[in-house]
Symmetry: C2
Subunit: 348 residues, 2 copies
């Protein structure tokens, strides 16, 4: 399939316009617009008969207001955008569901932008600047800078960002204490006698370096752990299957690790599958700790020891966005922090 011919795609066939409706109903476009939108100047002012006539004309023609025209005129889209790097991550899909529900109640439509690469992060930014949505939530952008977000804020787009790498610059920022929690988890493993602790990165960690990795690096330095680079699989690949293979590699080492710390719960699951497939047990032979505390961690077999918040709470993010959309937010931006802790279950 070659280059799509935009000209062809452009030629959307006859969609009825407000003028056609007006003509069919024998009224002015003003009247039609008023019937469709209800409010005009706060005042109700269409006679029942006229309204009925307009309504039937609308029905007969199958009229829908054109969004592009509305957006241009209203200078707003009625849309918000959720920008994420990966949709396979439970946190993101759960957040998406939550936002949809909330936004819907306020009359906003939610769209999702999948970034996935530095290039696409910039593209999403540009789309937003060009009027893709009135507001946006960014989850762990990897390559966007404080300046990027400042520009977004300056043209009046409401933005809330979940990241540990940025500060408020006209946008609201939510951080977490994953670094401290990761350190705590490693210390827990250390106390239980583990010295060869392997690392498997979270998904897309290559594109988005997380503090949990820094915590790992710092811990093995602080405790002078005898861990060579072969124990560190920073990049788990893009899928659970690839993480599985990486974990098998770890377990095939001459001196396999006695514990594995994973940058995500999903990667931890893969590590556990790999352990099983090698004929070893969890946690007796290999202890595994994950990151994120996704709901599935509690029902996994064995229940997963991990770091994370007690349960996902998307409210801070959502409140930040919508209060800002509503103009109820300080121009300089706000900062919040969500607490992460070690949650001990049975995998370690």
């Amino acid at each position: 399939l070659g280059e799509v011919n935009r000209l062809t795609a452009m030629r959307r066939s006859k969609k009825p316009t407000i003028r056609q409706v007006a003509e069919a109903a024998g009224v002015s476009t003003t009247t039609v617009s008023f019937v469709v939108n209800g409010r005009l100047n706060g005042e109700d002012r269409i006679s029942p008969e006229t309204r009925q006539r307009v309504l039937s004309a609308i029905d007969a023609l199958g009229y829908f207001p054109d969004q592009s025209a509305q957006n241009l005129r209203r200078r707003s889209t009625g849309r918000i955008c959720l920008a994420v790097n990966d949709l396979g991550i439970p946190y993101n899909s759960l957040l998406a569901k939550e936002i949809y529900k909330f936004a819907e109640g306020l009359g906003y439509m939610t769209i999702i932008a999948l970034m996935g690469s530095p290039n696409n992060e910039q593209k999403t930014l540009e789309q937003l600047m060009r009027g893709l949505a009135d507001g946006a939530i960014f989850i762990s952008p990897a390559h966007l800078t404080n300046d990027d977000f400042a520009r977004l804020a300056k043209i009046g787009i409401a933005v809330a960002v979940s990241t540990n790498h940025l500060r408020p610059t006209g946008v609201d920022v939510i951080r977490n204490t994953e670094k401290e929690a990761a350190y705590e988890a490693l210390h827990y493993l250390y106390e239980r006698g583990h010295r060869r602790i392997g690392y498997i990165g979270g998904f897309s960690e290559k594109v988005m370096p997380l503090n949990r990795y820094e915590a790992y690096r710092q811990f093995i330095r602080d405790y002078a752990l005898p861990i060579g680079e072969e124990y560190i699989q920073f990049d788990p690949g893009v899928s659970r299957e690839q993480a599985y293979e990486k974990a098998k590699g770890l377990l095939a080492l001459p001196q396999p690790p006695t514990a594995i710390y994973a940058g995500s719960d999903l990667a931890a699951f893969s590590a556990i599958y790999a352990t099983y497939s090698t004929g070893l047990r969890v946690p007796e032979d290999v202890a595994v700790v994950g990151s994120g505390n996704i709901p599935e961690a509690a029902i996994f077999h064995p229940p997963l020891t991990t770091i994370g918040p007690p349960r996902f709470n998307f409210n801070p993010l959502i409140q930040f966005l919508f209060s800002r959309l509503d103009g109820q937010a300080p121009p300089e931006g706000r900062l919040d922090c969500i607490e992460w802790n070690l949650i001990v279950r049975q995998s370690a």
Copy 2:
């Protein structure tokens, strides 16, 4: 948080317009537009100095063409929409990634619409009619009818639908043989001596009745299996945890099932977790068969016996959409069918 004040959200602050750029560069808007969009009549016709002047003006002002205005003028959005009912499903998130990549290469931006409820399916439809995107892919819409899609097609929106419930009406339809495959899976269980075969629905199956459920119903009728309604957990809830609880309920029956057929691989995983947590083994005590053959099924412990395509292939869907966008599709719509089969691994 109360009603968001749309008026406030509307008042996007000063975004530079093409006129301001033109003025700053001392040229006409035509020239600016040409510099920005490249082609005008196929002919290149801006002098290097002028172009440079325009470019620096654009840079200085931080100009971006307004998308709403562009869309209105061009009568197209340059966007395609992926409409799904659930993002937690690997099939959907993988498909999303694939579409993004493909669409990006063709200059299209992809957005995702989360439907999730009958109400929202209609809303998505309406958004599309009003110019949300130039084309759309629908995955297993539950309540949209042939007529709904015919209307979409009529106003020139390119649509491809993955479903077994609809026929081409100006849109392209892709079906699969999940019903036959599910029947085959049940027969496989039957042959291995299983008579009390429980059922756990796939996620959102309540909102989207699948043929695999019909196959189950038909099978127990055909083989006169002694299965009461208590063995049938049609609605697994909305999450893996809820499916887990439902599965535990099944296993707590006075005469627990010796096999469980699950309407999705994710539900099958939950069933297996539940089996483990009851102290039973898979497949020795309880055999489990899933549906979908998601990649994780192969690395799960034990590797999951399931039905599905040999591997996910999104090409038919993507080709349908983009060839239609390109005007290369028959107006009446096309039909394709993807083969599903039983894939025997170790969980049954």
